[in-house]
């Protein structure tokens, strides 16, 4: 996903000299295409995220389209006020890019677990929040935030994600993508955990449950229409995110569900308002905290009993 982002942005940057990456001293190897071929369009501003984000806002005010790049919580929580005051309030064309959403850097410890970022970024007015679910979505989201005026957040995985969509979907900011129809249960997923949601679907299908599956590459603005439609057509809406269950994607869906009469129950799959102090790979931690395909499937089954 990380490489897809860099590759896609590189092609955009070749055509638009106003595109500029500022990195907080991260992206070793990954950002090489920029450093080697477009050195005038990338700047390492050092390990100083508050300054990085303020600088990005200032550059944007001078006409640049600026991508701040770092990992985990560094480009978001570390400098959230600069994103709020300097970027969003000024409608600055700054795109905050996080590599390592969720437990991507699982073994590195809780400092590197980005598990509250969606909630925090979503709470800021005038910020578009995107969490692509696969490589195709990552490419589309990278192009979409370039076109979108204003401050955006792009939450990426790292590497090794699958290409789940066969073709480039009809991608639009604020629109969910239906992967498959189903009955009784609709599974909504955002971000890199999409592959677990899809595998969970397959496990459930083998047990005679046929859930619908949607991916939400945009968390803000949330796709109201799809949520309302599903709430009227399904008994259960399962939200899956590699993030705290408070304030993030499940919160965004719950906010919509609370606004009208329907019969759907929301099942929230996410990190249950805790920090992880367990050491482990992304795969291990997902399973430990109930986010693996098997655990998602079991939780859905419990509700259906």
């Amino acid at each position: 996903m990380r490489d897809t982002f860099v590759k896609t942005l590189f092609e955009i940057a070749k055509k638009d000299k106003n595109v500029h990456i500022v990195t907080g001293d991260l992206g070793f190897g990954v950002l090489r295409p920029f450093f080697e071929n477009l050195p005038e369009q990338i700047t390492n501003v050092g390990i100083a995220e508050q300054n990085m984000t303020g600088v990005a806002a200032g550059m944007a005010r001078e006409g640049k389209i600026v991508y701040t790049y770092s990992i985990g919580n560094f480009p978001t929580l570390r400098c959230i006020e600069q994103i709020r005051n300097d970027c969003a309030y000024h409608d600055a064309n700054v795109k905050v890019v996080c590599v390592g959403g969720g437990f991507v850097y699982g073994s590195l410890g809780m400092s590197h677990h980005a598990t509250e970022d969606i909630a925090m970024m979503r709470a800021l007015p005038d910020v578009t929040v995107m969490a692509p679910g696969d490589l195709v979505e990552a490419e589309c989201a990278t192009k979409a935030i370039y076109e979108q005026q204003g401050t955006c957040y792009l939450r990426l995985g790292r590497g090794g994600e699958k290409r789940i969509h066969d073709t480039t979907p009809d991608f639009k900011i604020g629109k969910a993508i239906k992967i498959k129809d189903g009955e009784k249960v609709a599974i909504f997923s955002t971000g890199g955990i999409f592959d677990e949601a899809q595998d969970a679907c397959e496990i459930l299908e083998k047990k005679g449950i046929n859930p619908a599956l949607y991916t939400f590459p945009t968390v803000k603005p949330i796709d109201r229409e799809t949520i309302v439609e599903c709430a009227n057509n399904f008994d259960y809406i399962v939200t899956v995110e590699e993030h705290n269950v408070i304030g993030g994607f499940s919160g965004a869906v719950a906010e919509v569900l609370s606004e009208f009469r329907h019969n759907a129950i929301q099942i929230k799959i996410g990190l249950n308002d805790t920090y992880s102090c367990i050491v482990g790979s992304q795969k291990y931690l997902r399973d430990y905290y109930g986010l693996s395909a098997e655990k998602i499937a079991s939780k859905v089954e419990e509700y259906l009993k």
Partner: protein
């Protein structure tokens, strides 16, 4: 209008605005008044008829709590109606206590949380240099604001990238919100700190307009590194009982104190 006359008007408006609104920060407004007046009186290339002209010099008041000084300077130089100054802090007004750019002609950037202005100014300066633009970026910070880590992040960056189109002024009145700077977090020697960070340091009397003008002329010509003008000032300058008294960071001029403040200023009218 001379810069001295503009500075006087900023002080007079500052007292009036904080009196009407029962607002805070009069001492900070009085402290920065001469700096703002000199900048808006010939140092910066700005045009009230074309507040967004491409090659304007950019100005950020990073110590946004002294925003009344900027509003007053903008109104007095024709960016908007002087009468509007009375709406400072008021319900429904666009002139918020901390300076805001939304809908206010001439305000480049909104501030209020300290330590934001210098990084943003550095970003503007960096982008402007990249595109060979000739305008300058002026930013005014407080001395207490130098407690913020982001100031020093930007100080490193501006030096590294040789942002000689960036001109910082520090309103060095030696006081902050609760106490004198030296009793809070020692800043001395402020000039040495900035020199150590590679900046072109100009240490002057921040109430002397000739020194301020000379400093900015030197800063504009300087090449190879950013400039910091350390403007040694007096918090509450111009109103004797407000000078160097921590009380006046937050206290609002009312009653006899307001009358006395106005009388002192009227006696200094230029």
């Amino acid at each position: 209008m001379t810069s001295e006359q503009l500075a006087w008007k900023i002080r007079r408006h500052g007292v009036e605005m904080t009196h009407i609104s029962r607002g805070s920060h009069i001492a900070a407004i009085l402290s920065v008044a001469d700096i703002v007046a000199v900048l808006y009186n010939g140092v910066m290339n700005v045009d009230p008829e074309k507040p967004k002209m491409e090659n304007r010099d950019r100005f950020i008041l990073s110590k946004g709590h002294a925003g009344a000084a900027v509003y007053a300077a903008l109104a007095e130089t024709g960016f908007f109606d002087i009468e509007e100054l009375k709406t400072h802090y008021a319900d429904g007004s666009r002139l918020s206590g901390h300076v805001s750019h939304k809908g206010v002609p001439g305000v480049e950037f909104s501030t209020g949380s300290l330590g934001h202005g210098l990084p943003v100014a550095a970003g503007m300066a960096y982008a402007a240099k990249m595109d060979n633009k000739t305008h300058k970026i002026f930013v005014v910070c407080g001395d207490g604001e130098c407690d913020e880590g982001s100031m020093w992040e930007a100080a490193l960056m501006a030096n590294h990238f040789e942002l000689d189109n960036l001109i910082l002024t520090i309103d060095y009145n030696k006081m902050q919100s609760l106490d004198f700077c030296e009793n809070t977090l020692k800043l001395h020697s402020l000039a040495d700190k900035w020199k150590a960070f590679g900046w072109n340091v100009i240490d002057i009397d921040g109430h002397n307009h000739d020194e301020l003008k000379a400093a900015y002329n030197q800063a504009k010509e300087h090449k190879g590194s950013p400039t910091v003008v350390i403007a040694n000032t007096t918090k509450g300058k111009g109103i004797s009982f407000m000078e160097n008294d921590i009380l006046w960071h937050y206290r609002t001029p009312q009653g006899e104190e307001y009358d006395a403040a106005v009388a002192e200023l009227e006696a200094q009218r230029v």
